[in-house]
């Protein structure tokens, strides 16, 4: 019995909690991608770097706050800086839309043209971020680091395995839940949200109904920038901020959006968790976990790790390929152009 509890605690500590946090971060990223796809009808390859840009802006404001002695008590100062980061990222998105995408929209360019243009935007943002903050790792988490410490948990429970809950993981989950509720409320209850869904559903009919496309596009960019910045800041708090890592996040985020059904917000959330848990469960070494559960003579000698963490991106790729082969519209039926 104690062995089973130990195994469960171990699993929660190394798979369940990190998977939930990572899944929430991916879900927020995938929501942004899916929203752009649904309304503007292209895959925004610059989303990862928009995340990096928004996070960088948040970090700079955080440092400024810290230098003035402003803090958020036990919570990270970055949460105070987040609204400013979102605003800066939104301004950047609208500028990019005005400078790049609106030109192609006027020409009614094919979706693939937008995708290639977004690759260009991606490189620009990429460069801007590196110029301003540099390519190195930045840690900007402050405040209380743990809600539950492994040692305290061990002492409290008497188990040999500890369970740690870092405050950044809890913050990630709470913020993600609040954001998702707010987003769905906006899309389903407000006039503008319904207009966005209508525009995504049938552009011509939306125009006939008097919906202003310029406003829909503007609001979409602002929301996408907000989602990207929030996802990026949560990821950075949980791990660390490095521009290249954010660029790499593009793959699991797109995998999440496509697995769930691109263009479908519910799908993006489900997809985020599917990808996160696949990555974490496949790259976790089960040696100790099995050691608790199996009789001593059957305990494994090796690490029992299906895939080295170096290959975690392969997981997203494989899932992506399987979904595209067998259910191209994704789990929740997204749109197909």
């Amino acid at each position: 019995m104690v062995d089973i509890l130990n195994a469960l605690v171990l699993f929660s500590n190394f798979v369940l909690i990190p998977g939930l946090a990572y899944g929430a971060q991916l879900a927020l990223g995938a929501l942004g991608v899916t929203l752009i796809y649904a309304v503007l009808r292209f895959s925004n390859f610059a989303h990862g770097d928009l995340m990096a840009f928004g996070t960088m802006a948040t970090i700079l404001v955080t440092w400024w706050f810290q230098s003035m002695g402003i803090s958020f008590g036990v919570l990270p100062t970055a949460l105070l800086a987040l609204p400013f980061g979102i605003a800066i990222a939104a301004v950047m998105s609208l500028f990019m839309d005005r400078a790049v995408y609106s030109f192609y929209r006027k020409k009614r360019a094919a979706p693939v043209t937008f995708v290639i243009a977004s690759v260009g935007v991606m490189f620009i943002l990429n460069g801007v971020v590196r110029l301003i903050i540099g390519p190195d790792d930045q840690r900007f988490a402050d405040g209380e680091r743990f809600i539950v410490r492994a040692r305290d948990f061990e002492a409290w429970s008497g188990l040999s395995e500890g369970l740690a809950l870092r405050s950044t993981q809890a913050i990630t989950l709470v913020v993600a839940i609040l954001i998702v509720i707010a987003l769905f409320w906006f899309l389903n209850r407000t006039r503008m949200g319904k207009a966005m869904r209508a525009y995504s559903d049938n552009e011509d009919l939306a125009l006939l109904s008097g919906i202003d496309p310029a406003r829909v596009v503007m609001v979409t960019w602002i929301i996408a920038a907000a989602l990207a910045t929030i996802a990026g800041v949560l990821y950075g708090l949980d791990k660390s901020f490095k521009p290249f890592t954010y660029f790499q996040l593009l793959l699991p985020i797109f995998a999440a959006a496509i697995v769930g059904g691109i263009g479908n917000p519910v799908g993006a959330i489900a997809g985020g968790f599917v990808i996160a848990f696949s990555e974490v469960t496949v790259t976790y070494a089960y040696k100790r976990f099995l050691g608790h559960l199996l009789p001593e003579n059957l305990a494994p000698d090796g690490l029992v790790q299906l895939l080295s963490t170096d290959y975690k991106f392969a997981v997203s790729f494989v899932i992506l390929v399987v979904v595209l082969l067998f259910r191209p519209t994704g789990l929740f039926r997204g749109k197909v152009i």
Partner: protein, 234 residues
């Protein structure tokens, strides 16, 4: 002078004209129907009246005001409503949301208008929370007409409202359209089912190759032996 008139419309999408000096007019509370063989430019004439086709010559006037240069969206704001032939509902939105989007330009209370639409099409009231994409073809057409009525238009334009619905549903839809006309709305519609449409028409236009061939009351056109032989199958 007519309430809405497309006068001497000439134009097309590219260099070749599709419409040649075509005139379509409709009065308040009247039903005007455009019929004709395939490729006669029926839908094109309708689109021209709504500003979806560039005109080389001719004018469109609403209540005497020249609206030839206005975009379709601006015409919606002027009280014109258009129901396209296909993709005329937001399939992923509920029936009620479809109607709300129809009233997007209105800032006042829309509940009264929505009740009127539900009175006209009771089935929509029952299915108000269902996505429009899950409804049958006839019910979708009702959603489409309902959405257009939400702006409280003075002109309702319908592009083949009975395309792809069963004869029973068609009769019922025509009954509803007559009801709408009785409230004082001008109705302009293009119809494939010429005989039934002319039956309810106050005014009929027979187009051939983008030109007016016959223009008369619906009754007179149905009685006209030439029209019967050429376009109504005897």
């Amino acid at each position: 002078m007519s309430f809405l008139i497309g006068d001497g419309m000439t134009g097309g999408y590219g260099s070749a004209d599709i419409l040649h000096d075509c005139t379509i007019a409709v009065e308040k509370g009247e039903i005007a129907v455009i019929v004709g063989p395939n490729g006669a430019g029926k839908s094109t004439a309708m689109k021209a009246v709504f500003g979806m086709l560039p005109l080389r010559l001719g004018h469109v006037r609403l209540e005497g005001e020249d609206i030839t240069a206005l975009t379709p969206q601006a015409r919606v704001a002027k009280g014109m409503a258009f129901v396209p032939q296909t993709q005329n509902v937001f399939t992923s939105l509920t029936v009620q949301e479809n109607l709300e989007m129809g009233a997007y330009l209105r800032r006042d209370d829309i509940r009264g208008t929505m009740e009127q639409v539900f009175d006209l099409f009771p089935i929509l009231g029952e299915k108000r929370r269902q996505p429009a994409g899950e409804l049958s073809g006839g019910q979708r057409q009702q959603v489409a007409v309902g959405r257009a009525l939400m702006t409280q238009p003075s002109v309702l334009m319908l592009d083949e409202p009975t395309a792809g619905v069963s004869p029973i549903v068609m009769d019922e839809l025509f009954d509803r359209i007559i009801e709408v006309a009785r409230t004082g709305i001008a109705i302009l519609m293009v119809e494939q089912n010429a005989r039934q449409a002319l039956n309810i028409a106050d005014r009929g236009y027979v187009l051939v190759q983008g030109e007016n061939r016959y223009t008369d009351t619906g009754e007179a056109l149905l009685a006209n032996p030439d029209v019967r032989r050429s376009f109504l199958g005897g």
